[in-house]
Symmetry: C2
């Protein structure tokens, strides 16, 4: 069931930042790669399952994907103009989440935390 299509991985590598399924599809088309949109969706989903790719949501709700260097839990500093992304540690967040959960008696907790802004180049 390994649908981690290497051609999709390659596009994500070159993209660098986060990209939506539709964008990945358009990119591949522009480069003359023949692929179906369905396959792009399936490949991305598979990569997310394998924790090779991270997925976030744009403000409008569209899912965006990124091939991350670290397969362990981490957070992101994303440029909202060019999409450039830095993977960052969330030490303070992990602690904060744990503390808050404890304080209010919540169990089995997870969290999300991302930072959006303009990178030095933009």
């Amino acid at each position: 069931m390994s649908r981690s299509n290497p051609r999709v991985v390659s596009v994500l590598e070159r993209a660098g930042g986060f990209a939506s399924a539709q964008e990945v599809y358009r990119l591949m088309q522009r480069e003359g790669e023949s692929i179906g949109l369905t396959t792009v969706y399936r490949s991305l989903q598979s990569l997310v399952n394998d924790k090779i790719v991270d997925v976030l949501r744009r403000e409008d709700g569209e899912a965006i994907y990124r091939l991350c260097g670290d397969t362990h839990h981490h957070h992101h500093l994303v440029c909202k103009s060019c999409g450039d992304t830095v993977e960052i540690e969330g030490g303070a967040i992990e602690k904060w989440a744990k503390t808050m959960a404890q304080e209010f008696g919540f169990r089995d907790v997870g969290h999300t935390a991302e930072i959006f802004g303009l990178c030095p180049k933009c």
Copy 2:
């Protein structure tokens, strides 16, 4: 342009936790309230603009809304079973975001940070 429909506000008040536009609509129908789905969407949007309502995204991308007690910047501790929500301060997060942005030269930054888990009752 104040489309902050009081009937929609009332439903959100009773709902307590986060609810999607479709859910708000269904709730009002069940209670015999006559309202159009379009109006529900417009009212929620207006409430978000006025910072009276917070909006998050479910994992599937659907937008969910909540009438929050504090109109200032804050974060949430959400029960993924019953939807019960606690508004929490993010002192540590604010600092973390600022520090990270500075370290990598990002300007004009914002952030998201929410905690999901099971509340004491669930």
